[in-house]
Symmetry: C2
Subunit: 133 residues, 2 copies
DNA sequence: GCAATTAGTTAGCCTTGCTAACTAATATCA
DNA sequence: TGATATTAGTTAGCAAGGCTAACTAATTGC
């Protein structure tokens, strides 16, 4: 992913924004939840979300019942950008793993499962799973 | 490593500096070599090395035969700091993997070997290898 | 010996992290 | 009920660590 990330700027959206968008893919989040999910402090996320709103990839909506909370939504444009970024990441990774044999792929797949379990995350929504064929 | 990195500041040396130091552990490198090894542009490494010299963890030596090239050496202080950082990273990772069983550890070890081979790197000098017991 | 190339540096910008201090809204409780 | 706490987010300002463009100095080559 460190290598794949270098290709992201082509979408015109920064890596941090794409990462936050990927969290919003599963539905709106409050700013604080988003900061926690991205392991970042609230001020950092506040600024990032403001930039995302200016870029048209996210929307801030103040909660009706509690005027303090801000709910962040991804826009259609944001989801499209995410999809483009995702496609580029997947392509980059596919090029990397293209020459591996089935055994090595199986090893990587099992290792990913071990790590997800270890960290208690299932944090990557773009994670490719073995497709039932 | 992303999580482990957060504990590094305790050494008083930045993550980028520790990473560069780890490359120097195997001997002096020219500034350009160091930049390439760290996948960074020369100006970035130039500034980083200057800061490292100010911090007393590295030394710049101009080549006698070619006055353009600068050779970067780690100092004893730098190596000690690296060692402390390494110990903290290893501890952090050990805490993470502490609850895994032997099979899962084997899976991770095989996956690391697959990835090293795939990327053509053996880039982590602090990499723990199965010890002949 | 002059032009081209090469290694590094300087200047200036951007992104993305942080803390401290603030505002506004809600919750608590005497 | 009204003063005080707490909570969610924002603003301001700083630092690290990336980048490109443009420069200097040294070496190479014709």
């Amino acid at each position: 992913m460190r290598r794949a990330r270098r290709t992201d700027p082509l979408t015109g959206i920064s890596p941090a924004q794409l990462s936050a968008l990927s969290v919003l893919m599963s539905g709106p989040k409050t700013l604080g939840e988003l900061a926690a999910a991205e392991q970042v402090r609230p001020p950092t996320m506040s600024r990032l979300v403001s930039e995302m709103e200016r870029a048209g990839v996210a929307r801030k909506v103040t909660d009706r019942d509690d005027g303090r909370v801000v709910r962040v939504h991804a826009t259609a444009k944001g989801l499209r950008a995410l999809e483009r970024g995702r496609a580029m990441r997947i392509e980059a990774i596919e090029r990397l793993v293209a020459d591996l044999d089935g055994g090595d792929l199986g090893t990587l797949d099992r290792a990913v499962a071990v790590i997800e379990d270890m960290l208690g995350t299932r944090a990557a929504p773009w994670r490719s799973r073995p497709k039932p064929k």
